[in-house]
Subunit: 327 residues, 2 copies
């Protein structure tokens, strides 16, 4: 049997309105009445329906978070930190994995709208930007450009590209290859590839590129890309790519008897635990997922509360010295 507000009122010997006033801390209530009501709530183990209260308040205190795949270490880390920050602010996280499928993403947007979430954090998109701009919901994007009015939080990828280039220049690499994620959807992380290539070019080093589709998460695909890399550029002596791909490059290098770091250097990007787990440890550019998450939540909740926050927020990256570029 579900306990109702009427049961609490009856037990406390007061009106329903009085119970409601106590619960919402509104109106003049004597301390004695307050105590009686709280006692009745406690004795009956009464949990007021949040749904009913939210209907009144027109707020659900639920935030939708859309990621391609929560089991990928970068998104897993983002979701963990987003949830922590939302929780501390009294909000809950409704999780959506799109697997990067267009129809699924549209289904989620419709669903979130029907459920009247208070806002959405998007770290994945395959939809046209218009779909998001028509949403009439506070939005914040992580690492995606969804339109002028939608704030974007991302790492300072330009800084990341420069740091990676300078490390490979320091190691005197001559034949450098970077693995580039599909750039057909323009996004902040493209800047790291441009900055990397430009910085090498300034130093007279040509940078070759191998392409990989956006959000490829299968390690076997990384192994295929690595094999293509070595087949196409057998003289490669410097590689820059995401950490998970770097692990595949490292593995392929061992199989093909390229000594790392002696003959070939690798700089990763992301800075998850995986960089520490492999041998030799990856040199990597660490994205501060905890600060990206906190910033995205802060901005979203300000928008939920009615502030007009827009703009682009670039969070510094960190250079982490590992063994794949030690000299």
């Amino acid at each position: 049997m579900t306990v109702k507000i009427e049961d609490v009122a009856e037990r406390a010997g007061v009106s329903v309105t009085t119970v409601s006033r106590v619960m919402n801390n509104r109106g003049a209530i004597s301390e004695k009445t307050r105590e009686k009501v709280m006692e009745a709530i406690h004795e009956l183990d009464y949990h007021p329906s949040q749904i009913a209260r939210n209907l009144f308040k027109q707020k659900s205190h639920i935030i939708g978070v859309i990621v391609p795949d929560v089991s990928h270490n970068f998104y897993g880390s983002e979701v963990k930190h987003i949830e922590r920050n939302l929780c501390e602010a009294g909000y809950r996280l409704l999780l959506c994995n799109t697997k990067q499928q267009k129809t699924l993403e549209q289904d989620y947007i419709d669903m979130l709208q029907c459920n009247k979430v208070d806002g959405i954090i998007i770290a994945s998109h395959t939809q046209e930007s218009e779909a998001y701009q028509q949403l009439h919901l506070p939005l914040v994007s992580i690492d995606r450009n969804l339109g002028a009015d939608i704030p974007v939080v991302s790492s300072n990828h330009y800084q990341g590209g420069i740091l990676a280039a300078e490390e490979l220049l320091r190691c005197q690499c001559k034949t450098v290859v970077q693995v580039v994620c599909d750039t057909s959807i323009p996004k902040p992380s493209d800047e790291r590839h441009i900055a990397f290539k430009t910085r090498l070019g300034e130093a007279g080093i040509r940078c070759e590129e191998i392409n990989i589709p956006l959000n490829t998460f299968d390690f076997d695909d990384y192994i295929k890309v690595s094999n293509t890399l070595f087949d196409t550029y057998p003289k490669v002596d410097g590689v820059f790519c995401a950490d998970n791909i770097a692990c595949a490059v490292l593995k392929t290098a061992v199989q093909r008897e390229y000594a790392v770091p002696k003959q070939m250097k690798i700089v990763g990007y992301d800075g998850n635990d995986i960089a520490k787990m492999v041998t030799p440890t990856l040199t990597t550019i660490r994205q501060q997922t905890e600060i990206i998450a906190k910033t995205a939540v802060d901005i979203l909740l300000r928008r939920v509360e009615g502030s007009e926050v827009t703009g682009t927020y670039k969070i510094p990256v960190q250079f982490v010295q590992g063994e794949t570029t030690a000299v």
Copy 2:
């Protein structure tokens, strides 16, 4: 401006009751009226408040999922598959990371109760079982024993322990160590440690044990455990532990110049991508997270719909041959 059901009724030239009947597919409605209402819904871009409808139905179609840390690869994989299965059944996932803190877990339980979720899947617990049994909500546990009435879904850990022991026996290991997670809270996964030790004992091989607190997720802690392992048992030639710890053992072995697999064999447990990412590739016992998740969701939704489902569900594990036990 939010579109209301009254606006749809006005546009379609029918009563609110008729609109509601069309939306809920109830009562006799002519095809012509149905079309008029659907057209009005479409033209006005009307999204009925799910909250209002759920208040009526007394169902939120939201399921709470409690894990210690979604950024850990095992839990990330479980959450991904749970979300996929819930989504297909028309439910949404409210995510709770407890970080294994007792007060946080209690807060989440209170919060989920207030939000009237339809049920909870728990893959983490620090609370006394009574706290869960008093919940009056459909529950399913993954890998935790929460009481006789609460169904448990887990891998067949007994089978996993036997498979690991037999692989190290096949490799003729003589000094075997397993890393054991804290057993002070009894749980299904304890069986793998018991089965492993027993099977080795039957073959006349003694199994040593190194303990690690439950849900230690920091790689630096795994490195410490690995160093303790080698310091305590320098003659070790066979190790059995979770994949993430196995990566630390592998790394420490290289540093201490133990050749793997020549001098020392390692069998992991979990079977996430990490097993493929390191060199040599880990031999591991794979937990079928996709089937565990599907089973947990199926059982929970049957309970949500009122069925009395209880019992223990053991999902077979799979032996994955890697290079850390190749001979």
